[in-house]
Amino acid sequence: MDYTMFPLSEWAVTIRFSTEVDEAVNEHVHRVTVFLEEQKKEGILDIVPTFSSVTVYYDPLVAGDYEEICKWLRTELKRVGHIKKAAARTVVIPVCYGGEFGPDLQEVARFHGISEEEVISIHSRESYRVYMIGFAPGFAYLGGLSPEIATPRRSTPRTHVPAGSVGIAGSQTGIYPLATPGGWQIIGRTPLALFRPHDPEPSLLRAGDIVQFRPITEEEYRMWDDGHNSSNT
Protein backbone atom coordinates (compact mmCIF):
# COMPACT_ATOMS: atom_id res chain seq x y z
CA MET A 1 0.00 0.00 0.00
CA ASP A 2 1.34 3.46 -0.92
CA TYR A 3 2.24 5.88 1.83
CA THR A 4 3.90 9.19 2.62
CA MET A 5 6.08 9.92 5.64
CA PHE A 6 6.59 13.20 7.44
CA PRO A 7 7.93 14.40 10.80
CA LEU A 8 5.37 15.31 13.48
CA SER A 9 8.14 16.42 15.86
CA GLU A 10 11.81 15.68 16.46
CA TRP A 11 10.66 12.49 18.20
CA ALA A 12 7.75 11.38 16.02
CA VAL A 13 7.20 10.36 12.41
CA THR A 14 3.83 9.74 10.76
CA ILE A 15 3.29 7.18 8.01
CA ARG A 16 0.12 8.15 6.14
CA PHE A 17 -1.60 5.59 3.91
CA SER A 18 -4.61 7.68 2.89
CA THR A 19 -6.45 10.90 3.67
CA GLU A 20 -9.85 9.16 3.69
CA VAL A 21 -11.61 6.86 6.14
CA ASP A 22 -11.61 3.42 4.57
CA GLU A 23 -11.97 0.00 6.15
CA ALA A 24 -9.25 -1.66 4.05
CA VAL A 25 -6.79 1.15 4.79
CA ASN A 26 -7.64 0.98 8.48
CA GLU A 27 -7.09 -2.79 8.39
CA HIS A 28 -3.62 -2.17 6.96
CA VAL A 29 -2.91 0.46 9.62
CA HIS A 30 -3.45 -2.15 12.34
CA ARG A 31 -1.33 -4.75 10.62
CA VAL A 32 1.50 -2.21 10.35
CA THR A 33 1.06 -1.27 14.02
CA VAL A 34 1.15 -4.85 15.26
CA PHE A 35 4.06 -5.69 12.99
CA LEU A 36 6.17 -2.70 14.07
CA GLU A 37 5.43 -3.43 17.74
CA GLU A 38 6.66 -7.00 17.25
CA GLN A 39 10.04 -5.75 16.01
CA LYS A 40 10.75 -4.38 19.52
CA LYS A 41 13.32 -1.94 18.15
CA GLU A 42 15.27 -0.17 20.86
CA GLY A 43 14.37 3.50 21.27
CA ILE A 44 10.81 3.17 19.91
CA LEU A 45 8.62 4.75 22.60
CA ASP A 46 5.10 4.47 21.25
CA ILE A 47 3.22 3.44 18.11
CA VAL A 48 -0.10 5.19 17.55
CA PRO A 49 -2.57 3.99 14.90
CA THR A 50 -5.30 6.35 13.66
CA PHE A 51 -7.92 6.03 10.87
CA SER A 52 -5.39 5.89 8.06
CA SER A 53 -1.97 6.62 9.51
CA VAL A 54 0.53 5.29 12.02
CA THR A 55 2.70 7.59 14.12
CA VAL A 56 5.92 6.20 15.57
CA TYR A 57 7.41 7.99 18.61
CA TYR A 58 11.13 7.44 19.17
CA ASP A 59 14.11 8.59 21.17
CA PRO A 60 16.43 10.13 18.55
CA LEU A 61 19.50 9.45 20.70
CA VAL A 62 18.75 5.73 20.82
CA ALA A 63 16.74 4.84 17.71
CA GLY A 64 18.50 7.25 15.33
CA ASP A 65 17.53 10.53 13.67
CA TYR A 66 14.59 11.13 11.32
CA GLU A 67 16.45 9.89 8.22
CA GLU A 68 17.51 6.68 9.97
CA ILE A 69 14.00 6.01 11.31
CA CYS A 70 12.48 6.54 7.85
CA LYS A 71 15.01 4.17 6.33
CA TRP A 72 14.20 1.53 8.95
CA LEU A 73 10.44 2.01 8.43
CA ARG A 74 10.71 1.75 4.63
CA THR A 75 12.49 -1.59 5.02
CA GLU A 76 9.97 -2.89 7.57
CA LEU A 77 6.93 -1.72 5.58
CA LYS A 78 8.01 -3.90 2.66
CA ARG A 79 7.74 -6.95 4.93
CA VAL A 80 4.25 -6.16 6.28
CA GLY A 81 2.57 -7.26 3.03
CA HIS A 82 3.57 -10.85 3.69
CA ILE A 83 2.07 -10.99 7.17
CA LYS A 84 -1.24 -12.78 7.55
CA LYS A 85 -4.13 -10.68 8.74
CA ALA A 86 -4.90 -11.23 12.41
CA ALA A 87 -8.44 -12.29 13.31
CA ALA A 88 -10.42 -9.36 14.70
CA ARG A 89 -11.56 -9.69 18.30
CA THR A 90 -15.27 -9.30 18.91
CA VAL A 91 -16.08 -7.44 22.11
CA VAL A 92 -19.65 -7.59 23.39
CA ILE A 93 -20.68 -4.53 25.38
CA PRO A 94 -23.72 -4.98 27.64
CA VAL A 95 -25.92 -1.88 27.64
CA CYS A 96 -28.88 -0.96 29.79
CA TYR A 97 -30.88 1.20 27.38
CA GLY A 98 -33.28 4.00 28.30
CA GLY A 99 -34.58 5.11 31.69
CA GLU A 100 -32.18 6.94 33.97
CA PHE A 101 -29.23 5.39 32.07
CA GLY A 102 -30.40 6.57 28.65
CA PRO A 103 -32.18 9.90 29.13
CA ASP A 104 -32.13 10.73 25.38
CA LEU A 105 -33.48 7.41 24.07
CA GLN A 106 -36.95 8.92 23.85
CA GLU A 107 -35.62 11.93 21.90
CA VAL A 108 -33.77 9.71 19.38
CA ALA A 109 -36.95 7.64 18.85
CA ARG A 110 -39.07 10.78 18.46
CA PHE A 111 -36.55 12.31 15.98
CA HIS A 112 -36.94 9.29 13.67
CA GLY A 113 -40.62 8.61 14.36
CA ILE A 114 -39.93 5.10 15.62
CA SER A 115 -40.36 3.39 18.98
CA GLU A 116 -37.68 3.21 21.67
CA GLU A 117 -37.60 -0.57 21.21
CA GLU A 118 -36.80 -0.08 17.51
CA VAL A 119 -33.91 2.24 18.35
CA ILE A 120 -32.52 -0.38 20.75
CA SER A 121 -32.99 -3.15 18.23
CA ILE A 122 -31.22 -1.19 15.44
CA HIS A 123 -28.38 -0.05 17.70
CA SER A 124 -27.72 -3.56 19.05
CA ARG A 125 -28.19 -5.28 15.66
CA GLU A 126 -25.17 -3.75 13.90
CA SER A 127 -21.50 -4.63 14.27
CA TYR A 128 -19.17 -1.70 14.76
CA ARG A 129 -15.55 -1.41 13.78
CA VAL A 130 -13.08 0.27 16.17
CA TYR A 131 -11.18 2.54 13.77
CA MET A 132 -9.00 4.13 16.42
CA ILE A 133 -8.70 5.05 20.09
CA GLY A 134 -8.06 8.70 20.80
CA PHE A 135 -9.46 11.96 22.11
CA ALA A 136 -9.70 10.57 25.67
CA PRO A 137 -8.36 7.48 27.50
CA GLY A 138 -10.19 4.44 26.14
CA PHE A 139 -12.41 6.43 23.76
CA ALA A 140 -13.13 4.38 20.61
CA TYR A 141 -14.03 5.84 17.22
CA LEU A 142 -16.63 3.35 15.96
CA GLY A 143 -17.81 2.96 12.38
CA GLY A 144 -21.09 1.39 11.30
CA LEU A 145 -23.99 3.31 12.86
CA SER A 146 -27.20 2.81 10.89
CA PRO A 147 -28.52 6.03 9.28
CA GLU A 148 -31.93 4.94 10.64
CA ILE A 149 -30.89 6.18 14.10
CA ALA A 150 -28.23 8.83 13.30
CA THR A 151 -29.23 11.88 15.36
CA PRO A 152 -27.72 15.37 15.76
CA ARG A 153 -25.99 16.28 19.02
CA ARG A 154 -28.04 17.88 21.81
CA SER A 155 -28.46 21.62 21.36
CA THR A 156 -27.29 22.12 24.96
CA PRO A 157 -24.48 19.81 26.09
CA ARG A 158 -24.78 18.22 29.53
CA THR A 159 -22.30 19.36 32.15
CA HIS A 160 -21.94 15.80 33.47
CA VAL A 161 -22.17 12.61 31.45
CA PRO A 162 -21.42 9.53 33.60
CA ALA A 163 -18.67 7.09 32.62
CA GLY A 164 -20.00 4.20 30.54
CA SER A 165 -22.70 6.30 28.85
CA VAL A 166 -23.50 5.10 25.33
CA GLY A 167 -24.42 7.86 22.95
CA ILE A 168 -25.13 8.95 19.40
CA ALA A 169 -23.75 12.10 17.75
CA GLY A 170 -24.58 12.55 14.08
CA SER A 171 -23.58 9.33 12.33
CA GLN A 172 -21.26 8.23 15.17
CA THR A 173 -21.95 6.10 18.19
CA GLY A 174 -19.61 5.69 21.13
CA ILE A 175 -19.08 5.21 24.84
CA TYR A 176 -17.80 7.81 27.31
CA PRO A 177 -14.89 6.12 29.16
CA LEU A 178 -14.73 8.82 31.86
CA ALA A 179 -17.30 11.15 33.33
CA THR A 180 -17.10 14.40 31.33
CA PRO A 181 -19.32 17.15 30.01
CA GLY A 182 -20.75 16.16 26.63
CA GLY A 183 -23.34 16.81 23.96
CA TRP A 184 -24.07 13.30 22.69
CA GLN A 185 -27.60 11.85 22.78
CA ILE A 186 -27.27 9.34 25.63
CA ILE A 187 -29.33 6.21 24.95
CA GLY A 188 -27.92 3.82 27.57
CA ARG A 189 -25.05 2.89 29.84
CA THR A 190 -22.67 -0.05 30.11
CA PRO A 191 -21.44 -1.41 33.46
CA LEU A 192 -18.08 -2.27 31.81
CA ALA A 193 -15.07 -0.08 32.54
CA LEU A 194 -13.73 1.18 29.20
CA PHE A 195 -10.60 2.66 30.79
CA ARG A 196 -8.67 0.40 33.20
CA PRO A 197 -5.67 2.39 34.36
CA HIS A 198 -4.18 -0.44 36.44
CA ASP A 199 -4.41 -3.12 33.74
CA PRO A 200 -1.46 -3.94 31.46
CA GLU A 201 -3.80 -2.97 28.62
CA PRO A 202 -5.65 0.09 29.92
CA SER A 203 -8.22 0.38 27.13
CA LEU A 204 -10.94 -2.30 27.01
CA LEU A 205 -11.22 -1.72 23.26
CA ARG A 206 -8.36 -1.94 20.78
CA ALA A 207 -8.20 -0.44 17.34
CA GLY A 208 -9.30 -3.14 14.87
CA ASP A 209 -11.82 -4.75 17.26
CA ILE A 210 -15.45 -5.46 16.33
CA VAL A 211 -17.96 -4.17 18.87
CA GLN A 212 -21.47 -5.51 19.47
CA PHE A 213 -23.92 -3.99 21.94
CA ARG A 214 -26.15 -6.40 23.91
CA PRO A 215 -29.22 -5.03 25.72
CA ILE A 216 -29.39 -5.92 29.42
CA THR A 217 -31.98 -5.16 32.08
CA GLU A 218 -31.55 -2.64 34.86
CA GLU A 219 -31.25 -5.53 37.31
CA GLU A 220 -28.43 -7.12 35.27
CA TYR A 221 -26.74 -3.73 35.12
CA ARG A 222 -26.82 -3.35 38.88
CA MET A 223 -25.57 -6.90 39.47
CA TRP A 224 -22.71 -6.51 37.00
CA ASP A 225 -19.20 -6.93 38.36
CA ASP A 226 -16.36 -7.12 35.91
CA GLY A 227 -13.73 -6.75 38.61
CA HIS A 228 -12.77 -3.28 37.43
CA ASN A 229 -14.89 -1.36 39.84
CA SER A 230 -16.47 0.39 36.89
CA SER A 231 -17.25 3.87 38.01
CA ASN A 232 -20.89 4.65 37.46
CA THR A 233 -20.61 7.98 39.11
Binding site: T14, D46, V48, F51, T55, P137, F139, F195, P197, P202
Partner: protein
Protein backbone atom coordinates in the same frame (compact mmCIF):
# COMPACT_ATOMS: atom_id res chain seq x y z
CA UNK B 1 10.80 4.60 58.49
CA UNK B 2 8.67 6.71 56.22
CA UNK B 3 9.97 10.21 55.57
CA UNK B 4 7.39 12.82 54.67
CA UNK B 5 6.61 16.45 53.90
CA UNK B 6 3.48 18.17 55.17
CA UNK B 7 1.61 20.35 52.72
CA UNK B 8 0.53 23.37 54.80
CA UNK B 9 -0.74 25.34 51.79
CA UNK B 10 -1.10 23.73 48.37
CA UNK B 11 -0.50 26.77 46.18
CA UNK B 12 -2.54 27.52 43.04
CA UNK B 13 -1.95 24.26 41.16
CA UNK B 14 0.81 21.96 42.37
CA UNK B 15 1.19 18.49 40.86
CA UNK B 16 3.76 15.70 40.79
CA UNK B 17 5.36 15.57 37.34
CA UNK B 18 8.34 13.79 35.83
CA UNK B 19 8.95 11.74 32.76
CA UNK B 20 6.11 11.43 30.27
CA UNK B 21 3.88 8.38 30.02
CA UNK B 22 4.92 6.81 26.74
CA UNK B 23 3.56 3.50 25.42
CA UNK B 24 -0.15 4.12 26.08
CA UNK B 25 -1.12 6.71 23.50
CA UNK B 26 -2.86 4.05 21.45
CA UNK B 27 -5.18 3.63 24.44
CA UNK B 28 -5.88 7.37 24.31
CA UNK B 29 -3.67 8.12 27.33
CA UNK B 30 -1.81 11.41 26.97
CA UNK B 31 1.95 11.56 27.56
CA UNK B 32 1.96 14.34 30.18
CA UNK B 33 5.03 14.97 32.32
CA UNK B 34 6.75 18.23 33.24
CA UNK B 35 5.71 21.23 31.11
CA UNK B 36 9.19 22.80 31.44
CA UNK B 37 11.34 19.69 31.27
CA UNK B 38 14.51 21.81 31.20
CA UNK B 39 13.87 23.25 34.67
CA UNK B 40 12.54 19.94 36.04
CA UNK B 41 15.55 17.99 34.80
CA UNK B 42 18.08 20.52 36.07
CA UNK B 43 16.42 20.58 39.51
CA UNK B 44 16.82 16.80 39.65
CA UNK B 45 20.45 16.91 38.51
CA UNK B 46 21.29 19.52 41.17
CA UNK B 47 20.23 17.12 43.96
CA UNK B 48 21.92 14.09 42.40
CA UNK B 49 18.74 12.47 41.03
CA UNK B 50 18.14 10.93 37.65
CA UNK B 51 16.95 13.78 35.37
CA UNK B 52 13.52 12.16 34.89
CA UNK B 53 12.72 11.73 38.59
CA UNK B 54 9.34 13.10 39.72
CA UNK B 55 9.34 16.70 40.98
CA UNK B 56 6.64 19.07 42.22
CA UNK B 57 5.41 21.30 39.41
CA UNK B 58 4.24 24.65 40.71
CA UNK B 59 2.08 27.05 38.71
CA UNK B 60 1.72 30.79 39.39
CA UNK B 61 1.61 30.55 43.20
CA UNK B 62 3.63 28.07 45.20
CA UNK B 63 2.96 25.83 48.20
CA UNK B 64 4.14 25.99 51.82
CA UNK B 65 5.79 22.75 52.91
CA UNK B 66 7.01 21.54 56.32
CA UNK B 67 9.76 18.92 56.28
CA UNK B 68 9.55 16.00 58.72
CA UNK B 69 13.09 15.06 57.77
CA UNK B 70 16.44 16.52 56.75
CA UNK B 71 16.49 16.86 52.98
CA UNK B 72 18.35 18.20 50.01
CA UNK B 73 16.21 20.06 47.50
CA UNK B 74 16.51 22.38 44.49
CA UNK B 75 13.96 24.76 43.00
CA UNK B 76 14.29 25.65 39.31
CA UNK B 77 12.05 27.44 36.85
CA UNK B 78 10.32 30.82 36.79
CA UNK B 79 11.37 33.29 39.46
CA UNK B 80 9.23 32.69 42.59
CA UNK B 81 9.67 34.36 45.99
CA UNK B 82 11.06 31.50 48.11
CA UNK B 83 11.73 31.47 51.85
CA UNK B 84 13.02 28.89 54.29
CA UNK B 85 11.80 29.66 57.83
CA UNK B 86 10.95 33.16 56.54
CA UNK B 87 14.53 33.78 55.29
CA UNK B 88 14.86 34.32 51.50
CA UNK B 89 16.53 31.45 49.65
CA UNK B 90 17.84 31.21 46.09
CA UNK B 91 16.54 29.09 43.27
CA UNK B 92 18.63 27.11 40.76
CA UNK B 93 21.00 25.68 43.41
CA UNK B 94 21.09 22.81 45.91
CA UNK B 95 19.58 23.69 49.29
CA UNK B 96 19.92 21.78 52.57
CA UNK B 97 16.72 21.65 54.61
CA UNK B 98 16.48 20.57 58.27
CA UNK B 99 13.78 18.55 59.94
CA UNK B 100 11.03 20.97 60.99
CA UNK B 101 11.95 23.65 58.44
CA UNK B 102 9.16 25.40 56.55
CA UNK B 103 9.69 26.14 52.87
CA UNK B 104 7.38 28.71 51.40
CA UNK B 105 7.17 29.35 47.68
CA UNK B 106 5.20 32.51 47.06
CA UNK B 107 4.03 34.36 43.99
CA UNK B 108 5.69 34.14 40.63
CA UNK B 109 7.75 37.20 39.67
CA UNK B 110 8.70 36.13 36.14
CA UNK B 111 7.90 33.01 34.18
CA UNK B 112 4.96 30.84 35.31
CA UNK B 113 6.15 27.45 36.61
CA UNK B 114 8.79 26.10 38.98
CA UNK B 115 9.94 22.61 39.95
CA UNK B 116 11.02 21.35 43.36
CA UNK B 117 13.28 18.29 43.26
CA UNK B 118 14.01 16.22 46.38
CA UNK B 119 17.20 14.16 46.66
CA UNK B 120 16.01 10.54 46.42
CA UNK B 121 12.76 11.59 44.81
CA UNK B 122 9.09 11.55 45.78
CA UNK B 123 7.88 8.12 46.86
CA UNK B 124 4.73 7.85 44.74
CA UNK B 125 3.90 4.68 42.82
CA UNK B 126 4.32 4.70 39.03
CA UNK B 127 1.10 4.18 37.06
CA UNK B 128 1.69 2.97 33.48
CA UNK B 129 5.45 3.47 33.85
CA UNK B 130 5.21 7.09 34.96
CA UNK B 131 4.91 9.04 38.21
CA UNK B 132 3.42 12.05 36.42
CA UNK B 133 -0.06 13.21 37.46
CA UNK B 134 -2.70 12.78 34.75
CA UNK B 135 -5.46 14.87 36.25
CA UNK B 136 -8.05 14.19 33.50
CA UNK B 137 -7.98 10.45 34.25
CA UNK B 138 -7.25 10.83 37.98
CA UNK B 139 -4.12 8.69 37.93
CA UNK B 140 -0.39 8.97 38.69
CA UNK B 141 1.46 11.41 40.95
CA UNK B 142 -0.17 11.98 44.34
CA UNK B 143 -3.54 10.15 44.08
CA UNK B 144 -4.02 11.41 40.54
CA UNK B 145 -4.73 14.98 41.59
CA UNK B 146 -3.26 18.37 42.44
CA UNK B 147 -2.00 18.79 46.02
CA UNK B 148 -4.36 20.00 48.75
CA UNK B 149 -3.59 21.60 52.06
CA UNK B 150 -3.10 18.84 54.66
CA UNK B 151 -1.61 16.29 52.25
CA UNK B 152 1.37 14.28 53.45
CA UNK B 153 3.90 13.62 50.68
CA UNK B 154 6.13 10.57 51.05
CA UNK B 155 9.84 10.92 50.19
CA UNK B 156 12.43 8.29 49.41
CA UNK B 157 15.54 8.33 51.60
CA UNK B 158 18.06 10.77 50.09
CA UNK B 159 21.26 9.40 48.59
CA UNK B 160 23.35 12.46 49.44
CA UNK B 161 24.58 13.21 52.97
CA UNK B 162 23.27 16.43 54.45
CA UNK B 163 26.10 18.87 55.12
CA UNK B 164 26.45 21.84 57.46
CA UNK B 165 27.89 24.22 54.89
CA UNK B 166 25.52 25.92 52.43
CA UNK B 167 26.12 25.20 48.75
CA UNK B 168 27.77 28.15 46.99
CA UNK B 169 27.27 27.12 43.40
CA UNK B 170 24.29 26.78 41.07
CA UNK B 171 23.08 27.12 37.50
CA UNK B 172 24.42 30.21 35.70
CA UNK B 173 22.10 33.15 34.94
CA UNK B 174 22.72 32.79 31.20
CA UNK B 175 20.87 29.46 31.26
CA UNK B 176 17.68 31.02 32.61
CA UNK B 177 17.24 33.77 30.00
CA UNK B 178 14.45 31.84 28.36
CA UNK B 179 12.13 32.68 31.23
CA UNK B 180 12.28 36.47 31.11
CA UNK B 181 10.31 38.95 29.02
CA UNK B 182 6.68 39.46 28.14
CA UNK B 183 7.32 38.76 24.48
CA UNK B 184 8.77 35.36 23.67
CA UNK B 185 10.35 34.16 20.45
CA UNK B 186 9.43 30.54 19.87
CA UNK B 187 10.95 28.54 17.02
CA UNK B 188 8.77 26.19 15.02
CA UNK B 189 9.10 23.81 12.09
CA UNK B 190 6.43 23.43 9.39
CA UNK B 191 3.51 21.24 10.43
CA UNK B 192 1.96 18.56 8.18
CA UNK B 193 -0.87 20.91 7.07
CA UNK B 194 1.25 24.06 6.69
CA UNK B 195 0.53 24.04 2.96
CA UNK B 196 -3.23 24.07 3.66
CA UNK B 197 -3.08 27.73 4.71
CA UNK B 198 -3.19 30.71 2.35
CA UNK B 199 0.15 32.32 1.52
CA UNK B 200 -1.04 35.43 3.35
CA UNK B 201 -1.84 33.43 6.49
CA UNK B 202 1.49 31.62 6.38
CA UNK B 203 3.21 35.01 6.33
CA UNK B 204 0.91 36.42 9.03
CA UNK B 205 1.65 33.48 11.33
CA UNK B 206 5.32 34.53 11.52
CA UNK B 207 4.95 38.29 11.13
CA UNK B 208 2.40 38.94 13.89
CA UNK B 209 2.39 38.30 17.62
CA UNK B 210 -0.10 36.09 19.48
CA UNK B 211 -1.29 36.69 23.01
CA UNK B 212 -1.51 33.82 25.49
CA UNK B 213 -5.14 33.84 26.71
CA UNK B 214 -6.48 32.85 30.11
CA UNK B 215 -7.90 29.68 28.50
CA UNK B 216 -4.47 28.10 28.69
CA UNK B 217 -3.46 25.16 30.81
CA UNK B 218 -1.42 21.95 30.80
CA UNK B 219 -3.52 20.62 27.90
CA UNK B 220 -3.03 23.56 25.57
CA UNK B 221 -2.46 27.28 25.15
CA UNK B 222 -5.18 29.14 23.30
CA UNK B 223 -3.64 32.11 21.53
CA UNK B 224 -5.31 35.29 20.31
CA UNK B 225 -4.12 37.34 17.35
CA UNK B 226 -4.56 37.71 13.62
CA UNK B 227 -6.81 34.93 12.32
CA UNK B 228 -5.35 32.31 10.01
CA UNK B 229 -7.25 31.17 6.94
CA UNK B 230 -7.15 27.91 5.09
CA UNK B 231 -6.84 27.81 1.31
CA UNK B 232 -8.98 24.67 1.02
CA UNK B 233 -12.12 23.42 2.69
CA UNK B 234 -10.97 19.81 2.62
CA UNK B 235 -12.00 18.16 5.89
CA UNK B 236 -9.19 16.47 7.76
CA UNK B 237 -9.47 13.19 9.58
CA UNK B 238 -7.95 12.76 13.02
CA UNK B 239 -4.26 11.96 13.23
CA UNK B 240 -1.66 11.92 16.01
CA UNK B 241 -0.75 15.17 17.74
CA UNK B 242 1.95 15.80 20.35
CA UNK B 243 3.40 18.33 22.81
CA UNK B 244 4.14 21.46 20.76
CA UNK B 245 1.73 20.79 17.88
CA UNK B 246 0.01 24.02 16.78
CA UNK B 247 -3.54 23.37 15.60
CA UNK B 248 -5.79 25.92 13.94
CA UNK B 249 -9.54 25.39 14.45
CA UNK B 250 -12.25 27.12 12.40
CA UNK B 251 -11.89 30.36 14.40
CA UNK B 252 -8.42 30.80 12.88
CA UNK B 253 -6.88 31.33 16.33
CA UNK B 254 -4.01 28.92 16.97
CA UNK B 255 -3.91 26.44 19.86
CA UNK B 256 -0.53 25.11 20.99
CA UNK B 257 -0.92 21.64 22.47
CA UNK B 258 0.98 21.19 25.72
CA UNK B 259 2.12 18.26 27.91
CA UNK B 260 -1.37 16.90 28.79
CA UNK B 261 -2.73 17.18 25.25
CA UNK B 262 -4.99 14.55 23.74
CA UNK B 263 -3.34 11.87 21.61
CA UNK B 264 -5.13 12.65 18.33
CA UNK B 265 -6.66 15.72 16.76
CA UNK B 266 -8.57 16.71 13.68
CA UNK B 267 -7.59 20.34 13.12
CA UNK B 268 -4.94 21.37 10.58
CA UNK B 269 -1.46 21.49 12.14
CA UNK B 270 0.26 24.62 10.86
CA UNK B 271 3.50 24.17 12.80
CA UNK B 272 5.36 22.25 15.50
CA UNK B 273 7.20 24.04 18.31
CA UNK B 274 10.75 22.73 18.38
CA UNK B 275 11.54 20.68 21.45
CA UNK B 276 14.33 23.03 22.60
CA UNK B 277 11.79 25.91 22.83
CA UNK B 278 8.95 24.09 24.64
CA UNK B 279 10.29 25.34 28.01
CA UNK B 280 9.90 28.94 26.75
CA UNK B 281 6.20 28.31 26.14
CA UNK B 282 5.80 26.47 29.44
CA UNK B 283 7.02 29.65 31.17
CA UNK B 284 4.64 31.95 29.24
CA UNK B 285 1.66 33.17 31.27
CA UNK B 286 -1.69 34.58 30.18
CA UNK B 287 -1.07 38.09 28.80
CA UNK B 288 2.39 37.27 27.43
CA UNK B 289 3.06 37.50 23.68
CA UNK B 290 4.46 34.85 21.40
CA UNK B 291 6.18 35.39 18.07
CA UNK B 292 6.88 32.32 15.99
CA UNK B 293 10.09 31.97 14.04
CA UNK B 294 10.55 29.36 11.34
CA UNK B 295 13.43 26.86 11.33
CA UNK B 296 13.98 23.78 9.20
CA UNK B 297 13.39 20.27 10.53
CA UNK B 298 17.14 19.65 10.18
CA UNK B 299 17.81 22.64 12.42
CA UNK B 300 15.16 21.51 14.94
CA UNK B 301 16.77 18.09 15.07
CA UNK B 302 20.25 19.58 15.51
CA UNK B 303 19.00 21.77 18.38
CA UNK B 304 17.37 18.75 20.03
CA UNK B 305 20.65 16.83 20.05
CA UNK B 306 22.51 19.94 21.25
CA UNK B 307 20.10 20.31 24.20
CA UNK B 308 20.54 16.66 25.19
CA UNK B 309 24.32 16.99 25.06
CA UNK B 310 24.07 20.13 27.17
CA UNK B 311 22.13 18.12 29.77
CA UNK B 312 24.85 15.49 29.90
CA UNK B 313 27.43 18.25 30.37
CA UNK B 314 25.42 19.74 33.25
CA UNK B 315 25.21 16.33 34.89
CA UNK B 316 29.01 15.95 34.74
CA UNK B 317 29.68 19.47 36.02
CA UNK B 318 27.26 19.01 38.94
CA UNK B 319 28.76 15.62 39.88
CA UNK B 320 32.19 17.27 39.87
CA UNK B 321 30.94 20.05 42.17
CA UNK B 322 29.56 17.50 44.64
CA UNK B 323 32.88 15.61 44.63
CA UNK B 324 34.76 18.84 45.38
CA UNK B 325 32.40 19.55 48.31
CA UNK B 326 32.85 16.04 49.65
CA UNK B 327 36.64 16.36 49.35
CA UNK B 328 36.60 19.67 51.20
CA UNK B 329 34.82 18.16 54.20
Amino acid sequence: MMVTIQVIHSGFFTTVQGKGRFGYQKAGVSVGGAMDSFASRLANLLVGNDADEATLEITMNGPTLRFDTDALIAICGGSFRCTLNSEPVSMWKPLFVRKGDVLSIGACQSGYRAYVAFAGGLNVPPVMNSRSTYVQAGIGGFHGRALRSGDVLPLRAPVITIQEKPVRWGIAFSERNYINGKKKIVRVAEGPEYGMFTAQSQERFFASVYEVTTQSDRMGYRLQGQALERATNHEMISEAVTFGTIQVPASGQPIVLMADCQTTGGYPRIAQVISADLPILAQARPGDYIQFQKVSWQEAQRLYVEREQQMKKWKMIIQQKWREMDDAR
